[in-house]
């Protein structure tokens, strides 16, 4: 029942036995942090309302149980909204293995795209770090151009994109060297 506490981040569905995970990436924590600040503000809203009502409308004393009930319902949905944001953050991820890149993005409930790219198909990789905070915290977008002209892989707002680019390029070169003619030697 509690296997999930012992499995690592480097295990995922459809992972080949011969495949090694080099990188497992979520968006940078600051992206989630900004959204959590908004939820923190929404969280203190009923407290502010309660203080204001107590101070300026003391005649509402008889309605206090109803207000407490309304606050309780509000916090129930606030809790849900908070974890909806956290879930969307946790369900967007990018995996780089020594054989392929997997891009998994959740665009809302029951709306999910998963794409994968063989390392041999990589043509070039570019990095974009735009803005003061992304530059300071070192996060940004990474774009992988594939052999097909229109196909691109985007790593969005990932931490240390330059380092990630180097790791992918190294993996690409190693893969090409170990798989001449792009033939998989493992069974």
């Amino acid at each position: 029942m509690f296997e999930f506490l012992t499995t690592t981040s480097y295990t995922f569905e459809d992972k080949k036995s011969y495949e090694n995970v080099l990188l497992f990436l979520y968006r940078h924590w600051f992206v989630l942090f900004l959204q959590l600040i908004a939820f923190a503000l929404l969280g203190i809203l009923p407290l502010v309302l309660a203080i204001v009502l107590n101070k300026f409308l003391p005649e509402l004393e008889a309605w206090r149980p109803y207000l407490h009930f309304a606050y309780a319902i509000y916090y129930l949905f606030w809790w849900y909204g908070l974890f909806y944001r956290i879930a969307m953050y946790l369900l967007d991820y990018w995996i780089v293995t020594d054989h392929r890149i997997i891009d998994s993005e959740q665009h809302g409930f029951f709306n999910r795209t998963v794409a994968e790219l063989n390392l041999a198909k990589i043509q070039d990789i570019s990095v974009a770090i735009i803005g003061v905070i992304p530059t300071w915290l070192d996060y940004g977008n990474l774009e992988v151009q594939t052999a097909a002209a229109s196909e691109k892989f985007f790593f969005k707002e990932i931490p240390h994109p330059e380092k990630t680019k180097d790791i992918i390029m190294d993996a690409h070169n190693t893969y090409i060297k170990e798989h001449p003619g792009d033939v998989e030697t493992h069974v």
Binding site: L5, S9, W79, F83, S104
Partner: protein
């Protein structure tokens, strides 16, 4: 009818909440990779239980 309004509101709110909560838990456990999403699901579930009990007590105090 008016006296039962808080009960109706509570029933509708809890029904909607637990349907949404189930969908959220399903996504976290089914599609999450690693322990992070599973731990988040566990925290969400226990927090939801506590908040539901708080809402029930708030209703009982009306």
């Amino acid at each position: 009818m008016l006296a039962n309004l808080p009960l109706i509101v509570l029933a509708i709110a809890l029904a909607i909440f637990w349907i949404l909560a189930f969908i959220l838990l399903y996504h976290l456990v089914r599609f999450g990779v690693g322990r992070g999403p599973k731990v988040a699901a566990l925290v969400f579930f226990f927090g939801s239980l506590i908040l539901m009990i708080v809402a029930l007590f708030a209703w009982l105090n009306i």
